[in-house]
């Protein structure tokens, strides 16, 4: 046999090398795989350290809302889909997306409901919640910034819940960022959700001041919170509270009705309590891009049905100012024309979120419900006069007065944020009105389906009637 000679010193060296190498590695590995946050991101702990990043986090809510594609809740979705479901517009072009809304034949797995009207608001709510938690915990922010930002978050959350409960009735109420509990939260009764909206807006009014934080009504101030609260009280049928809140806004002295109907929706309109400023390229208001056709010779995507055109009283300036038409192939298609600009890089129109006219209508309804008919008709007349219509007779009974409120809301708030659809459901008139206009109407159509995929993901969710 022949064997390699082994020198003990070599063995020692070899063992040494194999023993030392791992030691060296281990000590450095742990540090090595601990990495900092990505360069282009910050972590929650630092976001709420200073005013600027905290403001950026809250403004991110608007950026998310307005950066979404057209049709998402805030990006025209709240106007478009309920507008189709009610009697405001129909889809003039064959469309599998809009047809189920217009014919009130939504299926439980409708994708627009899922992504545009359910997912979107909950994403904004999460961001509001995470900001509220971060802001509340922060001790390094300027007091006025902290108050303003918290107020805005509460407003945003309230605004989202208002639409969620409006479209679906009972919805999960998430006020924290705890996904472990949020993911199994069942639907809260609509009254509880609405109460949360009102509570949030109470807090928001306490935090916010009348002055807007920047030039223009593009972020909520105190009156934006009050105005939304007035609306919420209406839905809660808290008539005196609704009247009081609307009165506070009307009497704030900051807003006046714009006499020229064509100028109501301009940026920084004197009637605007809150406007969202467009953020995307080539965008003015999302309504303009959705409803104004590309030329005068094409069929618009959405047209106003005849029974709605007929609802405008003769001589109503709003019909000529806020509705326009194209005639194609001998057929006339009328389309919403409150906003005048389809698109463009020069921004002249913002998305109107809340305006003074609605406050008059809220107060009119609250007053009528409290049998203050003269007060109610006075408020309605304020709106009617601007539209070139005669004042209402002063001797209306309560029921007629309420119908007058409904009619005035239908016209004044035409194709704005789904008011028509939500009003009809709120007042219980939906079956009577839409049942008469639409052939396939059934009463369960007044609520949208809880998205089927969400029920699959959260077994504690239940479906709305009519969608099982």
């Amino acid at each position: 046999m022949y064997k390699i000679k082994i020198f003990p010193s070599r063995i020692r060296t070899i063992i040494g090398i194999f023993a030392i190498l791992p030691e060296l590695f281990f000590s450095s590995c742990r540090k090595w795989v601990t990495i900092p946050p990505p360069r282009d991101q910050v972590v929650t702990a630092t976001v709420f350290m200073d005013d600027k990043t905290a403001t950026a986090a809250v403004l991110g809510i608007y950026s998310q809302m307005l950066g979404a594609s057209p049709g998402n809740l805030i990006m025209g979705g709240a106007t478009l889909f309920p507008g189709l479901s009610a009697d405001e517009i129909y889809s003039a072009k064959t469309s599998t997306v809009y047809e189920p809304f217009a014919s009130n034949s939504l299926l439980k797995d409708n994708n627009s409901v899922l992504s545009a009207l359910w997912r979107a608001p909950y994403a904004y709510i999460y961001q509001a919640n995470v900001c509220l938690e971060g802001l509340a915990a922060s001790t390094t922010l300027s007091a006025h910034v902290k108050r303003q930002l918290m107020g805005e978050c509460l407003f945003a959350r309230a605004y989202c819940y208002f639409y969620l409960t409006g479209l679906y009735n009972d919805v999960p109420l998430e006020t924290t960022t705890q996904y472990q509990t949020n993911q199994i939260a069942p639907r809260s009764p609509s009254a509880k959700v609405l109460q949360q909206v009102i509570t949030d807006l109470d807090s928001a009014q306490a935090l916010l001041v009348p002055a807007y934080p920047v030039t223009g009504p593009i972020r909520p101030n105190k009156w934006a919170a009050a105005a939304l609260q007035a609306r919420a009280y209406l839905y809660q049928k808290s008539w005196p509270a609704a009247e009081a809140a609307a009165t506070a806004v009307i009497n704030s002295g900051m807003y006046t009705l714009v006499s020229d109907l064509n100028a109501v929706f301009l940026a920084n309109s004197s009637e605007a309590i809150l406007q969202f400023k467009p953020v995307q390229f080539n965008q003015n208001s999302v309504d303009g891009s959705l409803f104004i056709p590309s030329s005068a010779t094409v069929i618009p995507a959405f047209a106003v049905p005849d029974y709605t055109l007929a609802a405008f009283e003769t001589g109503d300036l709003r019909k000529s100012s806020w509705i326009k038409s194209n005639t194609v192939g001998g057929k006339t298609y009328s389309y919403p024309y409150k906003y005048k600009v389809r698109n463009g890089f020069t921004v002249t129109e913002y998305n109107m979120v809340e305006r003074l006219a609605e406050q008059y209508l809220i107060r009119a309804e609250a007053r009528a419900q409290q049998n203050d008919i003269s007060g109610a008709t006075a408020d309605l007349d304020t709106i009617r006069v601007r539209a070139g219509l005669p004042v209402l007779p002063i001797s209306l009974d309560k029921a007629t007065c309420l119908l007058a409120v409904e009619q005035e809301r239908r016209i004044e708030l035409f194709m704005e944020w789904g008011h028509r659809w939500l009003d009809l459901r709120r007042t219980g008139r939906i079956d009577a009105v839409l049942g008469a206009e639409k052939s396939n109407w059934t009463s369960t159509d007044s609520l949208y389906p809880i998205p089927f995929k969400e029920i699959q993901k959260n077994v504690f969710l239940t479906q709305n009637p009519g969608y099982n």
């Binding site: 070899i14 194999f18 991110g60 950026s63 003039a92 064959t94 593009i218 390229f281 069929i299 998205p451």
Partner: protein, 1124 residues
């Protein structure tokens, strides 16, 4: 002297007593053999006279003074000895027996034990005194001995390669006595032998040599091994080293340059398809640059990546196999393949590591298998210049005929009639607004008769002498597509390799560098989708050459405007790899592997003013993205080789530090009023930008222990401690390991009883576990990023993710058993493997209800996935004669994927996607029953009889995993001619063209042309038709049935195919002919890719399975290769 020598030798032996008695016996026989010696001496003298001035020496003699030997050498070789007279005074006479031994070896023998050294200078041999301690300590064996049958005596064997270099680790076995040994670093070993014994000498990569010991053998037998020609001995690149198919305990599939070079393809992945069992490659389309899905042994992870790890020359390929493009282009949603930035011509071999034993040393990165790409290196020898040029054309293979205008308009009228709707310009613009006599055949416009062109030119210079070799080369590759316009993908690649081994062989270094620049200009639009356009749609331009956006009240969305766009993707790939090794002590080598890779892609999309609808935009727009992947790696290692007993031990220990960074940025500009300034970002008044930054760090300590006992029993153990930055604090590290065992049973004694035609047999088993961390980065960390849009000019932030710091490693367990057999001297080689992999603790983005504000949270769930299968490779040399050779290579993979366990599946968001006990690619859908003759509507089995077809009526329709797949290559050569034919086959179920048709738009709807086959549709009650009635009313029953059809059994078909993937014919011009032109070699060739596909699959390509994607093209190229 003889006695002492023998006793000295025996003292070293482990079997001391036996050796001693043997030596004594030997002594007594001395006289008996003397006569024979004298006879032999006479023979030797005759040989001397015949050899003249040769470089070899033959000499025999006992106790001859050195001077006499010197004289004999001078006479035979002409070499003169120069030495000081006093030098020889105290030298001993020598006993030597040499037959035609090379001079140097002879001299070595001569001076052994003499305290002498020699130097060869010109024709002189200078002999001088060696340093005192230089005498080799082991030189105590007799220099001369005559061997007899009995008893065995120790001799020494020196194993060298063809160039005389020693081979360390060669094993020698005495077939008779079963004694064996392994050669040391000088190629030496000692063994007890008797005359007549047969020694089998084997070494990795070399052919076995059987040596019969003759009585005349001297103390040192020099055995020269030649490189093996058996496929078993082809080199396989494994983790941190090399092996061969013969000795590997692991499962590695190898594709060599010769098979890659035959294919005129731009992407190395295209060249791999069908060639390695267990490796499933599917291309996403036929446009140059289109991505490939690559999967080794099925899907291991529910939703996380199943991509293998790509390593190029030891460096992790930074983008791995994920698409590198961010702007949608004509290549489609699968995007651009990162591997397109590696030139196939630079590749020496691609090794596919499959089982635990092979992959586990790569730790978590290799959980889904590893693909090692090794680039070409210079070979020692004359420097050769090689040039290779080919060019050719490609045409479309498969498409469908669509309806012409008459047929289309009739179909549309029919749909409106079925729905009871009057045509108007909204529901039927083709009938009411467009010219009903116009006909555009889009198939002709974009597909039929159109040609794409491929050109490739390579040049390389390689060679080297001494310890240094080099290779430098460049390749230009250009591929266009059949679409109209100047659309092409161009690539230039540079490759260099420098390797060095120091004279004392202790230091080794290898530097490999590739730099590739690729410019992909394939346009922004997939024109295959245009097949669907109404055949009478108005042309894009009016008579004045202006783009039409509206025709008679109908706004047009004519995709031809994309031709006005300019789109490009420029990729560069820089990869450098340095391997250093230093032999610190005999057997112990310290190594370091250092590598850097950067892949950068810059994309641009320009939309000039005329390409945009003036109703929306009066200006131009542009988008620019930059995506940079950088990775670097440092791997210090120590390797120790030692012979222990009859075996060879190999220990490898090392560490890895790796970092991969991905930096993406995107700039959108708009409102550019001058098209000439589209590329000037400053000219835009509206700018929007986004960014993304990803960092991945990985570190590990690894070790491998290999032990090969007589190349009969081979054990391989690997262990690794992995750390990954993708896990939260406290969860970053995990331990994984694997073991492999091989038994080459044909080396056993009983193998002699096996049928004589069995030349090789190996049983192999391996088992191991590794972790998978192919989840996104930072998932455990919360973060706020900037969305695209500031609000009112102020920057904004949004929360990027929900963080969960508690998740841990996904774990793959892999078990494999293999049997490799060789028959008739390895002329037939069968490799088979059974694998059984289980992957658990699945890391998934656990789907959250949207009410949480997010879509998922990364979590572990105890789901278990199983992949099992059989793999076979059969290599045969069917005909081997001096003129004609025919070899075949066949491989087959039979694979099953199964979800074993998924607790809570029914209530999870995956309840519709997966079924426990079935494959992850299980298809669930309604059972299609054909068309109802009366209503003309598709019918399905209504399981619960509720009158509705929905998920509760789903059946399990099968799965989309290939049942089996593989390839068959036949190579024929006759004199200078070579013909290679490669077939790829796959048995599978797949979405058929009707899936595409019904999935996109319901047949009958506006601006939606249909294949001609759909003429066979229901028109009136009583019709017995294949297709249901056309409809355009979303409320109609047929419309709902169309939606149900998608995903039903009717939308799946057999998508099996046999593809004549490559035919290659080449002719090497005879050397006597070309020598006059002073060139070494000249080869002309014809390569055809994708010549023929045999399949029942209708319409689209059965691999791509999408009617509206360009299928892989058929390419014909011709080329010439010249070597100088």
């Amino acid at each position: 002297m003889v006695k002492t020598a023998i006793c000295g030798g025996s003292a070293r032996g482990s079997n001391r007593h036996i050796t001693r008695s043997a030596s004594c016996g030997f002594r007594t026989k001395m006289l008996l053999v003397m006569r024979l010696t004298i006879f032999l001496l006479t023979v030797a003298c005759l040989q001397v006279s015949a050899s003249g001035n040769a470089q070899t020496v033959s000499f025999q003699g006992k106790d001859v003074p050195l001077e006499k030997v010197f004289t004999a050498v001078r006479e035979q070789t002409g070499y003169v000895f120069l030495y000081n007279d006093t030098l020889l005074a105290d030298t001993r006479p020598v006993t030597i027996h040499a037959v035609q031994l090379p001079l140097a070896q002879f001299l070595d023998l001569l001076i052994k034990g003499q305290d002498l050294k020699y130097t060869l200078v010109s024709k002189s041999i200078i002999v001088s005194r060696a340093p005192v301690n230089a005498a080799p300590s082991d030189n105590t064996l007799p220099l001369w001995r005559l061997l007899t049958d009995n008893p065995p005596l120790p001799i020494r064997i020196r194993v060298v390669d063809a160039d005389g270099k020693p081979l360390a680790g060669a094993s020698v076995i005495n077939k008779k006595t079963k004694n064996s040994g392994v050669s040391n670093t000088d190629g030496m070993l000692g063994l007890n032998v008797s005359a007549g014994d047969i020694l089998t000498i084997s070494f990795v990569g070399f052919g076995d040599v059987d040596y019969r010991v003759t009585p005349t053998d001297v103390a040192i037998i020099v055995i020269k091994l030649s490189p093996s020609t058996s496929p078993l001995d082809e080199l396989q690149v494994i983790a941190y080293g090399t092996s061969t198919k013969r000795l590997n305990t692991a499962d590695v599939g190898t594709v060599k340059a010769v098979d890659i070079e035959r294919q005129p393809v731009g992407n190395p992945m295209a060249a791999l398809e069908g060639r390695v069992p267990g490796l499933l490659i599917t291309q996403s389309g036929g446009l140059p640059g289109a991505n490939f899905t690559v999967q080794i042994r099925g899907q291991n992870s529910l939703v996380q990546g199943s991509d293998p790890l790509f390593i190029v020359d030891g460096v992790p390929f930074a983008p791995n196999n994920t698409s590198i493009s961010s702007i949608y282009s004509s290549v489609g949603p699968a995007g651009l393949s990162p591997l397109n930035s590696i030139s196939p011509s630079d590749i020496e071999s691609i090794d596919v590591l499959k089982d635990a034993d092979a992959t586990s040393i790569y730790g978590s990165r290799g959980a889904n298998g590893v693909i090692l790409i090794t680039t070409k290196k210079g070979k020692p020898g004359k420097v050769t210049l090689s040039a290779n040029v080919y060019t050719g054309a490609s045409v479309i293979t498969r498409s469908m005929n669509m309806m012409n205008t008459q047929q289309y308009l009739a179909m549309r009228r029919e749909a409106l009639q079925h729905d009871g709707v009057t045509p108007d310009i909204d529901n039927a613009p083709e009938l009411e607004a467009f010219d009903t006599t116009l006909y555009t055949d889009y198939k002709k416009m974009f597909f039929s008769g159109r040609k794409a062109h491929t050109t490739d030119a390579q040049i390389s210079l390689a060679g080297g002498g001494g310890g240094t070799q080099f290779l430098i080369g460049a390749d230009y590759h250009q591929e266009s597509t059949i679409y109209p316009g100047d659309l092409k993908d161009r690539r230039v690649s540079f490759h260099s390799n420098l390797s060095h081994v120091s004279i004392d062989k202790r230091l080794t270094a290898n530097l490999s560098t590739i730099y590739v620049v690729d410019d992909n200009r394939l346009g922004a639009y997939n024109f295959a989708g245009m097949l669907r356009s109404a055949p009478n749609a108005p042309p894009l331009y009016d008579s004045a050459g202006k783009v039409i956006w509206e025709k008679n009240g109908v706004s047009l969305n004519n995709p031809l405007v994309f031709q006005l766009n300019r789109q490009s993707a420029s990729t560069s790939n820089l990869l450098g790899s340095l391997q250093l090794g230093y032999q610190l002590l005999p057997g112990l080598t310290l190594k370091a592997s250092l590598g850097y890779n950067m892949v950068r892609i810059d994309e641009m999309n320009l939309q000039p003013i005329p390409s945009r609808n003036p109703a929306d935009y009066a200006t131009g727009a542009a988008e620019f993205t930059s995506n940079v992947f950088k990775s670097w790696i440092i791997e210090p290692q120590a390797e120790y080789n030692r012979n222990i007993g009859k075996g060879r031990l190999n220990i490898l220990a090392g560490g890895t530090w790796q970092e991969t960074v991905n930096n993406w940025s995107d700039i959108n500009t708009d409102s550019i009023t001058n098209d000439a300034l589209l590329q000037s970002i400053g000219a835009a008044t509206s700018i929007r930008a986004g960014s993304d930054y990803q960092q991945y760090r990985y570190s590990a300590v690894f070790g491998r222990l290999g032990y090969s006992w007589e190349e009969k029993y081979i054990l391989n153990l690997t262990a690794r401690r992995d750390g990954s930055s993708r896990f939260g604090p406290g969860r970053q590290f995990a331990n994984f390991g694997a073991g492999g065992l091989a038994w080459i049973f044909t080396k056993e004694a009983f193998a002699r009883q096996l049928p004589g035609f069995l030349s090789f047999g190996k049983l192999r088993v391996s088992y191991g576990a590794s972790g998978n961390d192919q989840i996104g980065n930072y998932q455990y960390m919360d973060g706020w990023g900037s969305p695209f849009y500031p609000y009112n000019g102020t920057a904004t932030l949004f929360p990027s993710r929900l963080a969960n710091s508690d998740y841990g490693w996904e774990v793959n367990h892999k078990l494999e058993g293999g049997l490799d057999l060789g028959f008739i001297k390895d002329r037939i080689l069968l490799t088979s493997a059974y694998f059984y992999n289980r992957s658990g603790n699945q890391l998934i983005p656990y789907t959250l209800p949207y009410q949480t504000g997010f879509t998922f949270i990364t979590e572990n769930i105890p789901a278990l996935i199983q992949n099992s299968g059989l793999e076979f490779t059969l290599l045969t040399k069917n005909i081997q004669s001096s003129g004609f050779n025919w070899t075949s290579s066949f491989n087959l993979t039979i694979h099953r994927n199964k979800l074993l366990k998924f607790p809570g599946l029914a209530t999870s968001s995956y309840s519709n996607a997966y079924v426990v006990g079935k494959s992850l690619s299980t298809i669930r859908g309604a059972h299609y029953l054909g068309v109802n003759d009366t209503t003309g509507v598709f019918q399905f089995t209504d399981v619960n009889k509720d009158g509705l077809i929905n998920t509760s009526d789903n059946f399990i329709l099968g799965n989309q995993d290939p049942k089996f797949y593989g390839g068959l290559q036949n190579s024929f050569s006759y004199k200078g001619w070579n013909l290679d034919v490669f077939l790829e086959f796959r048995r599978q179920l797949g979405q058929n063209y009707l899936y595409n048709i019904y999935n996109v738009n319901v047949p009958g709807t506006s601006n939606n042309n249909l294949p001609l086959s759909m003429e066979n549709r229901w028109r009136k009650p009583g019709d017995h038709a294949t297709f249901q009635k056309v409809t355009q009313d979303p409320g109609s029953a047929a419309y709902a049935a169309a939606a149900n059809f998608v995903g039903s059994s009717g939308s799946y078909s057999d998508a099996s195919f046999i593809r004549l993937k490559n035919v290659s014919l080449s002719y090497s011009v005879p050397s006597d002919f070309i020598k006059r032109a002073h060139i070494q070699g000249c080869r002309v060739y014809l390569h055809i890719q994708n010549l023929l596909t045999i399949s029942h699959y209708e319409g689209a390509d059965p691999e791509v399975k999408d009617l509206f994607t360009l299928p892989p093209l058929r390419t014909f190229t011709a080329g010439i290769q010249i070597t100088l």
